[in-house]
Symmetry: C2
């Protein structure tokens, strides 16, 4: 058998032998039951050690190319040849993600999900990351993180929520997740074997709707009025519903659910064996009053599943959120998840626990509130100056966005397109409506999380011009 | 109206007024349509500023307790009283997670999922974490991480897999997940609207089986023979199956799937519109031969979904894994996930990308291979010395565990219980069988990922004694 080896290349000799023989087998030049040269013979032929040949043969045996039998040496196995291995596969590059085709580059972005990086407390966060690395380095071994989340983080979140949101809970009810959508996945999974009825605010966050749609829940949209979700359509719902709400700051309208409606919803949930899913996504960021107490804090009957996230208050790139389950649902949770590992990195969990325990989280929230209040005020002032009474502002006083409804006849798509044509990105509210037809005409969503304030008036004047220039 | 305020406490006065009025409304002492004192009057009564009273009233309005009408002042709203808010809710502490009741504390743990912390490259990892923090600090704003994962990490994983595992892919096919179970969830979700037929090795990793069971897939167990999964039962499967395999190191038996069977499976998948899910969980850790090339590297027809994880090679507490999808499935992935955010922290993704790009990952893998090879050898030597031919070892040569089958009549439960009674934890293989009856009698799983080697012989002698002492 002809085997050429190259003693001058980097590739080890046993690997060269392995590769050549493997290729001969795959190409059919070595066939089923053919014998490989005896190791001693091949070693002599190639002037190499017998161990080197043996190592190549062992690899071929391990991968199933040949068999070694006492007395008959190394023989080639039967290998289906229908599928020849070819190296001529086309791996032509294609775009990583379909880039949105844009003729004009975006100069100003009225985004609302992002965070301004200048306010992020890198110094304190680095301290907490280092604390976590030091702690982890001191362990003798590394396990999977605790299923529900690190105990220290659950304890700190539970104390924080009791303190700042009046949430009635202890650490055992807290579940750490990788973001709000993951929280929704966990809830959708938990109720997988129930009646799968899901009602939600309409308009409401489409990132939540899609999760329950994908889990094949039966969806009922509940209209949002000037004081939050409408109660009448809820009263006639079947039993065993999940009802998703953003009571402290309705997304996207910005309205607050009043105490009377909260009481009615808790009553309804209690009477119909239903659960309220409270999404408290940015409740810390209220500027006109104190933060609104959570719905869960009013519920002494354990019908509220409370959910929150660090995406708005700290960073959307961190991917940590949490669920507070009523005690009565802990068994349902464990039944579904008893064989699952946590999906949240231990480093982040430990660092976050330290960050909260040290008081840095609450300090940051207070700074954030001042920061975004100023920014919202700047936006509102500039809007009033530029648009006067040609547009109506709603949803102000909290969060990172407002709604602007123009008194003209342009559609959301037109408004967005005209803005994009001059390098400004504004957002639609359409996707948050179950039925896009219900969406108010000429309404857009303006986030103020990353827009710079200094040339705000100029930017709005450009927008005003683009929208009124026919 | 009697309102006592305490000017000496820390609580702001407006908050005291708010709390007192809120309590009066909730307790019914202020009823529907009752009027609150005029702000000017109350301010004079309490000798405080009118703004302070106004702030308390605004909070009550925001939360829906009262309404302000021009001319008629502040009146209490109608609030359902059926559900009085009580502070006497019992939050008696209960155990965070049901602790396993243990009479004896565990001194030695033959775990396999954990990692020895002494080998973790903290110095290099800290460098990469700092690199990521610096990079992130330089951004002007923080967005949600890219949906499929950070481009830099996908690029580095794709190059690494091409180099070390022969995987045919580019970065656009890589999806970053929060661990192997999350990868399985993604795949289960992607095929949610297909025929939902799932076949898997039996025995096979139960953490995978539970995911597809929970997603209501129809499950077919495929027996594992001495050379991997049996082909005959696969040939008679329906079309449109997903077939889950651990070809390079079958879990838990440790066998390698030979080339002939790999070819047949690819052929079968191609002919039946099925997909192979290759779980390459610890392929880097092979001690007796070179790592076995991936199944995906043989598949020129794009029928293999390749999955891997950093849990075995780096740390189980990091929660980063990946999927390499065939190009033909990218649209299916995007269709399901187009409205989802990534669930993996940007910090970890950027740090990992840097860690791989700097060559530190591959250096670590090489150190790890030497480390665990030594440890496995120590375990095998000690086992042979202590158990002689009273036990049969299998699954050696790779990974972080072996199987030990005793030639006595004790069940897995007995073996585990007896070990636990003397403070030693060994593991069953039972849960990895679809039907526990199929599980070999007197077999246990011994992991060597965190067990110290110096007193290994002593520990095994204790075990031997406990298992042979009737």
């Amino acid at each position: 058998m002809l085997i050429y080896i190259d003693k001058d290349t980097k590739a080890p000799i046993y690997e060269q032998i392995y590769t050549i023989l493997r290729q001969k087998i795959l190409s059919g030049s070595l066939k089923f039951a053919d014998k490989l040269p005896a190791t001693r013979k091949l070693a002599t032929e190639l002037s190499i050690g017998r161990n080197t040949v043996d190592r190549a043969y062992q690899q071929l045996i391990a991968e199933g190319y040949v068999t070694s039998k006492v007395g008959s040496g190394f023989t080639v196995n039967k290998i289906p040849i229908e599928f020849a291995v070819s190296d001529q596969v086309d791996f032509s590059a294609h775009s990583l993600e379909k880039a949105q085709s844009q003729s004009v580059s975006i100069r100003y972005d009225f985004a609302h999900g992002a965070t301004d990086n200048s306010i992020f407390p890198y110094k304190q966060w680095r301290k907490s990351i280092n604390y976590a690395l030091n702690l982890m380095e001191s362990y003798s071994c590394i396990h999977y993180p605790s299923r529900q989340g690190e105990a220290s983080l659950r304890q700190n979140i539970s104390s924080y929520l009791q303190r700042s949101r009046g949430v009635r809970c202890n650490a055992s009810q807290v579940i750490i997740t990788c973001g709000h959508q993951h929280s929704m996945e966990v809830i959708a999974n938990m109720f997988e074997h129930s009646s799968k009825r899901f009602a939600m605010e309409d308009p409401g966050y489409d990132g939540v709707r899609i999760v329950f749609q994908n889990h094949n829940y039966q969806l009922t949209p509940i209209p949002v009025e000037k004081d939050g979700v409408s109660i009448e359509p809820i009263k006639i719902l079947n039993t065993d519903h999940l009802l998703y709400l953003t009571p402290s700051h309705q997304f996207p309208t910005g309205v607050i659910l009043p105490i009377a409606k909260r009481r009615k919803l808790i009553h309804w949930a209690f009477n119909t064996n239903s659960y309220l899913i409270e999404d408290d996504y940015d409740s810390e960021l209220r500027y006109d009053t104190n933060p609104i107490p959570s719905l869960q804090s009013l519920d002494i009957h354990g019908r509220t599943i409370y959910t929150g996230t660090f995406s708005k208050s700290l960073s959307p790139s961190m991917r940590v959120a949490y669920i507070v389950l009523p005690d009565s649902l802990m068994d349902t949770y464990r039944r579904y998840y008893h064989r699952y590992n946590s999906q949240v990195s231990a480093l982040h969990q430990i660092a976050l626990a330290d960050f909260i325990a040290s008081g840095n989280y609450e300090k940051h929230i207070n700074r954030l509130r001042i920061f975004y209040r100023k920014r919202q005020n700047a936006l509102l002032t500039a809007l009033r100056e530029v648009f006067g009474n040609t547009a109506f502002i709603s949803g102000e006083g909290a969060g990172k966005h407002i709604l602007l409804t123009l008194k003209n006849s342009l559609s959301q798509d037109d408004l967005i397109k005209r803005a994009e044509n001059i390098g400004i990105r504004v957002y639609s509210t359409k996707e948050h409506y179950m039925n896009p037809i219900d969406c108010p005409h000429s309404q857009i969503l303006l986030g103020f999380s990353i827009i710079p304030t200094h040339d705000l008036k100029l930017v709005l004047e450009e927008l005003h011009h683009a929208w009124n220039n026919d």
